[in-house]
């Protein structure tokens, strides 16, 4: 009986780990599909749309100094409602009708991994 319990527990742990990694892969895919157009595949803010007449500098997500100035809430609002919602450029689109809340939360987590920072608490 204990053996069965251990096996079940192990299966559960592996199952959760697999689900977690699947989700990580998906958020990377979401980032590369939607965000990389301007923020770049590596998140450094140099996507193909950033030509010489692009009127703003897309956020470099790998810069912990800049990214630490933002709360997770700030990032979420910017993604959901667009740049103007956080007093930034209209070139940052509102993604709230395209992405689900879960996808946006996952993107916030992904961006935090890119900056390796926790951000302003608030």
């Amino acid at each position: 009986m204990p053996r069965i319990t251990i096996v079940s527990a192990l299966l559960l742990v592996f199952g959760l780990a697999a689900a977690g990694s699947a989700q990580a892969v998906d958020v990377e895919k979401t980032f590369k599909f939607y965000c990389a157009q301007c923020h770049g595949l590596d998140g450094k803010g140099k996507g193909p749309n950033v030509t010489k007449d692009f009127a703003t500098t897309p956020r470099n997500f790998t810069d912990p100094k800049e990214m630490n100035k933002l709360t997770d809430g700030d990032i979420k609002t910017a993604i959901k409602d667009g740049g103007p919602a956080v007093s930034k450029s209209e070139l940052m689109p509102p993604w709230g009708k395209t992405l689900t809340d879960e996808e946006i939360d996952a993107l916030v987590g992904y961006i935090r991994k890119l900056c390796q920072c926790k951000g302003k608490q608030g």
């Binding site: 895919k29 979401t30 590369k32 599909f33 939607y34 990389a36 157009q37 301007c38 595949l41 996507g47 193909p48 749309n49 950033v50 030509t51 007449d53 692009f54 667009g82 740049g83 209209e90 070139l91 940052m92 689109p93 509102p94 993604w95 709230g96 009708k97 395209t98």
Partner: protein, 218 residues
Amino acid sequence: MRLASTVSLAAAMLLVASAGQADPAAGEKLFTGKNCNGCHYTQGPAQEKTIDDQLAKKGPELWYAGSKFQKAWLKGWLADPKPIRPLKYNSLTEKNPGNHPKLSAADAGAVTDYLMTLTTPEVKKGAAGKGKKLKGKLVFMKKMPCKGCHQYPKRKKVLGGLSGPSLVGASKRLNPDWIYAYMMKPKVFKPVKMMPVFTGILNEVDVKNVTTFIGKFK
């Protein structure tokens, strides 16, 4: 002599009539024969459900081509294709190689006749109405991020981002009723796409205005 002239005239008239006649079936045969459907699917409704589905496509779907494009433009483009997207389809790193197959004028005409039969009732004639160009300009240039991803003409320059299809020449290429329908119900046409959904962000009047503005791009 008189009979001969009449017969010749009739034959000539018949020839002219048949030359101008649309032959979608011949166009469809060419489309399949040249493996155009290797890159473009023509059977609606939209099939993409995931990002992977979209990324697996080699070219844009054409199941509503007859509602989207203007016939004269399509015929000209198929005979002399020039890149519409600055970047390769579905790529953020590679430039559009500009290697779309080129058709003879006769084949381009036939394929156009076929593609123009691919319509959808989702695009309603006259739906775009007459918007206000200047208000549309405000949406395109100031309120929304359109220019971040789409090239557009400004005086004699081409400005704008590269990840979306260029809107230069939209006045000749696109049916304004399609632009309107696509903005209002994007998921009907492209369920998974890199462009944000603006339904619920822009209202019907905004969309009519921006359609009018885009519809005048030379």
